[in-house]
């Protein structure tokens, strides 16, 4: 057994690091500390990655990705985070891309994948509805086939970046027969189609990330159906297993924790505090456990196995840790983290802390709440 990276992997890391250091966006408003990232900055960053061929860094070469190994992907993400650069908008790159590769027609693959990899097309994910969150399969948005079109009516909610997106992929109900899972289909829609309306939702960090998306008699060509009618649930489940490893957020947590300890080291009130030092050590140990669980999962995947049960803990532990770090940032910031909704002078980590702390409450809710993750895991472990 050997935990060391191979010389090739180290060379790769160095290549990515050098590029990131030269190209990561420098933003005075403090992207790096986790404050809000504007649309222009995000899009420009994704274009830059695309021009290097690294935007779709999780994709195989045959579909226009760089064909990184699982370990290389992980190194890439760690270096991206280390440089303080924002992560890519995940919906097309991490979710839709793999779905089209497995379930899409060659035409769909040709039509969408190159545009996604080149940062031309930004997508959002239309799954959740007001009455269907954890119980996603109960969704009601309806697509009725009429000739070579579907007519879509209904509502999605919590749609991240729908106000930025050019396209949306949706789970819709195409049939009321059979089990509720059987009637679900996977449909792609151009956000410019008549009948789609986007309304903003402001979250408790004071920002606009989320939206409601309303569909009124929206006409969607049948060639925008992925897979066959009724296959939507299978596709959605495939997608979930696919996003498991990226979700641990090791790289970003490392970066946030490093920023915090650097800040504390120059904070006259905390640099000699045994509480602060110990708190950081605790978080570092937790992070190490997460990092190595993630590496074990990657090792399995590199050998062609599917992720084991240990990987189900990655989302739970990863999100708890993100919250734990933001809590420490807020608490160390103390009174310096109290200013709200107005930029004031001070340590960037402390200034961003309350916004981050508030927004990160969501990470144990989205992508399948931690309660739901535990239900799923309990079923497997207890076997009842």
């Amino acid at each position: 057994m050997n935990f060391d990276y191979s010389p090739e992997e180290e060379t790769f890391r160095q290549e990515v690091r050098t590029w990131m250091e030269a190209n990561a966006p420098r933003d005075p408003s403090g992207i790096a500390t986790g404050m809000r990232i504007g649309k222009e900055t995000q899009f420009a960053w994704e274009k830059k990655l695309a021009s290097k061929g690294w935007l779709a860094y999780t994709w195989p070469a045959e579909f226009g990705g760089p064909g990184f190994t699982p370990v290389q992907r992980d190194i890439f993400d760690a270096e991206r985070a280390r440089a303080g650069a924002p992560s890519v908008i995940p919906f097309a790159l991490m979710m839709l891309g793999p779905v089209l590769m497995k379930f899409g027609t060659p035409e769909q693959q040709k039509r969408f994948l190159p545009r996604i990899a080149s940062a031309e097309q930004v997508w959002c994910q239309g799954y959740s509805e007001p009455g269907s969150g954890s119980d996603l399969a109960s969704l009601k948005t309806q697509a009725v086939r009429q000739g070579d079109k579907y007519i879509v009516n209904g509502q999605k909610i919590w749609t991240t970046q729908a106000h930025w997106a050019h396209w949306i992929f949706c789970l819709v109900r195409t049939s009321g027969d059979g089990s509720k899972q059987q009637g679900i289909s996977f449909l792609l829609m151009d956000m410019n189609t008549k009948g789609i309306e986007v309304r903003p939702i402001v979250t408790i960090d004071g920002h606009h990330h989320l939206n409601e998306v309303f569909f009124t008699d929206v006409e969607v060509p049948v060639e925008n159906l992925v897979g066959v009618e009724g296959q939507g649930w299978t596709i959605a489940k495939y997608l979930l297993t696919h996003e498991r490893t990226a979700i641990a957020g090791v790289g970003d947590s490392k970066r946030q924790l490093r920023w915090l300890s650097e800040t504390v080291a120059r904070d006259p009130a905390l640099k000699d505090s045994p509480h602060a030092r110990r708190r950081i050590a605790e978080l570092e140990v937790d992070l190490l456990a997460l990092e190595y669980t993630n590496l074990r999962t990657l090792d399995r995947m590199a050998k062609g196995h599917s992720p084991g049960p240990e990987s189900s803990g990655l989302k739970i532990k990863g999100t708890e840790l993100q919250q734990g770090i933001s809590e420490a940032q807020l608490e160390f910031g103390g009174l310096q983290a109290m200013p709200w909704g107005q930029d004031v002078e001070g340590e960037p980590v402390y200034r961003a802390a309350s916004t981050r702390y508030n927004f990160l409450r969501a990470c144990t809710i989205y992508g399948g709440s931690n309660e739901i993750q535990k239900n799923v895991l309990a079923k497997v472990l207890i076997g009842l």
Binding site: S128, G131, S132, G133, S134, D135, S138, I157, W158, I201, V202, T203, I204, G206, L210, P268, A269, L270, H275, L330, E331, G334, L335, Q336, A337, M338, P339, W340, G341, Q342, V344, E345, S354, Y357, N358, R361, A362, T364, I365, Y366, S369, E371, K374
Partner: protein
Amino acid sequence: MDLSFTSEQEILQDSAVKFAQKGYSFDQYKKSLKAPGQCDPAIWKQVAEFGWLALAVPESAGGIGGSTLDIALVAEALGAGLVIEPFIAGAIFPAAIIAASESAGRQDALLGNLASGDAQLAVAYSERAGRFDPAQCTTIADKNAKGFVLSGEKICAFNAPNASHLIVSARNGSAVDLFLVPRETAGLSLTAYPVLGGGVAADVKLDGVQVDSDARLGDITALEAGLDKAIAVDCALALGGMKALFERTSAYLRTRKQFGVAIGTFQVLQHRVVDMFIELEQSRSLVLLATAKADSGDAVERRRAVSAAKAYVAKASKMVAQQAVQLHGGIGMTEELDVGHYFRQLTAFGTRFGDRDYHLDRFQAVAAA
């Protein structure tokens, strides 16, 4: 032992609860957020007319001179109602300092204005390097012929932008003393900002601020006594917010359906709500103890009870606030629902006037002494 409230206290509590429930809707809260200094003058006037500001002013100065428990009963109702007007930072805290200071009796006019709602005050005692500790003070008071010259920097003086006068702590020789400084004094400048959870604050720069010799209110013991009273009352305010979140969350678990059933039927959520309730009640016990001891002449006893309450309630309110959002799912994350606003208010509570670590240290130091 008798833990019941007097009939006067029950009436006081009743009127505060009614005001918070009927007179201060979520819409009013949003209106107050937009008001200058995040304080709606009409609401402040009502708060004054109820006599709640006068509770902090001694009878000798024309006030009511209520106990800390009296004030806490009002604060709990205000917390439950999401009232963001600066009841504690602008009135209770500074009034308690003045009442406990050597200058009590000399400031009756100012306290009268405070009780009538015509003036608000603020306390500028925190410094960056000193964190929460009022004794770590680098702002200097230099004695001269006219009085004192104050120089230094304070951070996060709650309510300072609304205040007619600031109470500033400064090092006078080897002692830390308190000075009353009109906000418009030359050399005093504020960087004002809204604060997390509502209200405003300012970082304060004192650049050779000349004050008269009778601007000196007293020494740090008055600040410590005032702080303890403010913290006990603030804990009651947080208790109100916790109770509101507990009630909203248990109601939501009864009505929100997923998988064809109320989500309150899921045992893991049931246990979470029970934990919230238990934390609420444990908190209440320590808050009552702190309010009872906050008026004690025995500073050791007072400090111990107040720091115990703050250390405990800071942890408990964090748990309650986090779980309230978690159990509401997506809707708990929105500005549209009041849950997230209580969440922010309780988050700010955990920090102001000293966080859990600070108060555990202080508790321990008292216990060891």
